[in-house]
Each structure stands twice: as structure tokens, then as C-alpha cells.
């Protein structure tokens, strides 16, 4: 209940960038390493790294080092309200064509280890919707 308006605004700010949203959508499927993000999104490595650093500072993701690779995953929300919000955004992104392509490219690389099957089209997710 100590959620503050500024916190919500700050979260939105962190989400207010296409690159970060695409990264977030990828991470919603589970832990992913930087190189895979870099490849799946077809972005330069420094760009990806930079946005990951931003998300880390914002407390949205956490990093885990595994030898050469750095794996990122969504951080457990410090605040249920904010966590719920992130989940909503992540869900909304599953409806975005570009993001699905990203996910598909990731699966092709990692061998579809983490994300659930696509189930072409007929996702009955957001209830009645509209």
C-alpha cells in the first residue's frame, strides 16, 4: 500500500522505449542470455547491453553470470501492484506482431526451451476483451 504515483510513473518511463519493451517481452518467457537477445532482436550488442543496464537499474530485471554468458530474467517485483502492471504490459506485448517475430527468432536459436507453444492465434487470454 506504499505504492506511490512516482513509482508507477517511473515504471512507465522504464517501459517507454521500444527496445526495452522487446527485451521485456523476451524475458517474459524466461531467462535469456545477452547474446540471444542481441541476435533475436537484430540489435547491436552495446545497445542491448545498455538497455539491460537501464532495466537493471530500474529493478525490472536481474542478472546472473554463467561463465562467459550473462543471463537476464525478470526480477520479482518489490511491489505487487507494480509487478501486476509489468505482467499486464508483458501480456499486451504478446499481441504485437513484431514481438512475436522476436520470440520466434529466439526460439529458433535456443531450441524453444522456455516459452510455451505458440498455439496459432486462438489464445483465449484477456477474457471478453473489447
Amino acid at each position: 500500500m506504499t505504492t506511490r504515483v512516482d513509482a508507477v510513473a517511473g515504471l512507465c518511463k522504464a517501459l517507454a522505449d521500444p527496445t526495452r519493451l522487446r527485451i521485456l517481452a523476451l524475458l517474459a518467457g524466461g531467462e535469456v542470455c545477452v547474446c540471444d537477445i542481441h541476435e533475436a532482436l537484430a540489435l547491436t550488442q552495446p545497445k542491448v547491453s545498455r538497455h539491460l543496464a537501464y532495466l537493471r537499474r530500474a529493478g525490472l530485471v536481474t542478472a546472473r553470470r554463467d561463465g562467459l554468458w550473462m543471463h537476464y530474467r525478470l526480477a520479482p517485483g518489490p511491489d505487487p501492484v507494480l509487478e501486476e502492471l509489468v505482467a499486464s504490459v508483458a501480456h499486451a506485448l504478446t499481441h504485437v506482431a513484431g514481438v512475436r517475430n522476436d520470440a520466434a527468432r529466439l526460439e529458433r536459436r535456443t531450441g524453444a526451451c522456455c516459452p510455451p507453444p505458440p498455439a496459432s492465434g486462438t489464445r483465449r487470454c484477456c477474457g471478453g476483451g473489447r
Copy 2:
């Protein structure tokens, strides 16, 4: 399905400001005129006007002129995905103490014409939560 990542990012950007979030939360209760927003949020009028203009440009709200007063309300989403997202944010804001105070001040001014009764505290909204 033509939702684009940029559109989502743009929406987040529009929401990435405490003032706009507070306005949004107020408008979630129904149509409100500028002067009431200005009073309820205890903000200078130009500031409110500017942010309303921002929200209008972003397509989040629509304006209706009624003599002297300008009434703003949430715009029907051009995109169900984005609309759902806005609803999620608006809902999250109901958990924020400061926003509740804003709403209370608005009710005191308008005589609680639009928003539903407060039902002190025990809103069973987001399921289990936490």
C-alpha cells in the same frame, strides 16, 4: 492485430509522468472538467492544461466543450490491446494512496456525481494479489 511496439512504447511514455497518471486516474471515474482537475490535484492550471493537451495528442482523452468549461474523458481506445493496457494502469492506480486522496477531493467538489461509492478499503479486485 496491427498493434506495434512503438505504439505501446508511446503509450508508456504518455503515462510516464505522475501528473498525467493522476489525471488519468481521475478521468477513469468519468468525465471531469479542467477546473475540477486543477482543484482536486492542487496543481496550477497551466500545468494541468499542458498535460491534458499531451494526453489528447496521445489519443488517450477527448475533450468536450460546454460553455466555459472543458470536459475531458478517457477516449475510446483505437486499439483493444492499448485500451486494455490503459485499464490495467488505471486499476493499478486505485491502489495508490495519493491517487485515492485525489479522487476523494474530487468527489467532495463535484458531490460524487460520477465515480462509484468508495466502499472503504475492501475492494476485491485483483484476485489473490501478493
